[in-house]
Amino acid sequence: MCDKHHCLIIPPHILEELAKLGNTSCKKTLNDTHRILQKRNGILNNLLIREVVEGDGDRFVYDCQNRNQQRVEMVRQEGGEATDDESVNKAYVTSGFVRDYFKNTFGLNSIDDNGLDIISNVHYGKDYNNAFWDGDEMTYGDGDGKEFKDFASAIDVVAHELAHGITQFLANLEYQSQSGALNEHFSDVFGTIIKQKYLNQDISEADWLIGDTVVTEEFPGVAIRSMKAPGTANDFDSQPDHMDNYYSGNADNQGVHINSGIPNKAFYLSCLEIGIDDCAMIWFETLKALWRTADFNDMLDVILRVTEGLQNEGKVCDGALQAVENSFSTVGLSKVVA
């Protein structure tokens, strides 16, 4: 129905409708068109300061030397010796662990499934309390030592940021409102899964916290977010765990880090029922099937369709569909019966 040539001349809103009906070719074209436009703008803006290099999924770690500038000095690259800087070594090891998890579990070749270089910037800014993905690479601050510390050393933070890159290439979920909350949700999901793998934990041992190792003793809370109990990780945590408490304000790109608590809780509940590995497969395949403007109801439709398919193929356990449906229903997201 829709080959590549047709997709190129079909307007985006029609591509989106076809993507919703499960047309993967249209979905891919829709995602690629937007990403190419973004990339072209980025390249034009950064032509003088940044090279665009094709890679093999190799890791490169740069020291920003506490300046607000990326790629100040390259200090470790794929296969290179460990340095005296623990932040550098941790960023190198953890980004490799994340890359290998996606490769070994889903056959994904680096962030873009095409061997994109994995670039980490550490020691960004002075007392910088943050980590971010900028569309091309990851950047980590040292924290101010009062509330936060070394973001580059935390496996869940690294996996979260790297997963933003993967989402960008698989679904390119728009970073605002519900699609943005789903974008955050997928990063927290894979941050959590990979943290448990890294620590060799099973779900009964896991704390289901995000960012517990980057908060200081003085910080008023135990972590940045909780998958198990959204809204309880710290004194500022306003994540809801049910649609009844959905945030509809404008802050935080219309609540991308806030409303992600709702699907996060559904993920946690699903893991309790069917285990984290089946959930990992279901969520990854769902991410592949989503599109830029997908909202929570689209997520529910797609995840149920994906889960049913995987269950029928024997790739996830019997009962997975019921478990996922129940989990989303518990957080206030239920299928609309026509």
């Binding site: 973004q38 990339k39 703008n41 980025g42 803006n45 607000n68 002075k126 309390n129 943050n130 980590a131 971010f132 993905w133 900028d134 569309g135 950047t139 509330e147 936060f148 973001f151 933070v157 979260h160 940021e161 933003h164 960008q168 728009e174 970073y175 974008n183 990063s187 960012g211 940045i224 500022f236 802050a251 935080d252 790109n253 880090h257 806030i258």
Partner: protein, 88 residues
């Protein structure tokens, strides 16, 4: 000169608000006003980046702008750092 700085977003999404008054040399003030008047260039989608809302008020004149990690001018970043270092 009065200022209002609101920083939100970020991985942790803990908003920070800084309001107060600060004295600057007239050349610094002029540079700050001129920089704030320039519309920031559009950035790509930054995920988990801070969003910086900056407003200054001087002799009845008010000027404001919003930036992200990639289009925050060094003059504005220095101004924010100055405000933060004063513990305001």
């Amino acid at each position: 000169m009065k200022y209002e700085i609101f920083i939100n977003g970020g991985f942790a999404n803990i908003p920070k608000q800084y309001n107060g008054e600060i004295s600057l040399e007239s050349s610094e003030k002029k540079e700050l006003f001129q920089t704030l008047k320039v519309k920031p260039e559009a950035s790509g989608e930054i995920h988990d980046g801070f969003i910086y809302h900056v407003k200054i008020i001087e002799e009845g004149q008010e000027i404001r702008s919003v930036y992200d990690e990639h289009n925050l001018p060094s003059v504005i970043r220095t101004f924010i750092d100055t405000v933060l270092s004063k513990g305001n």
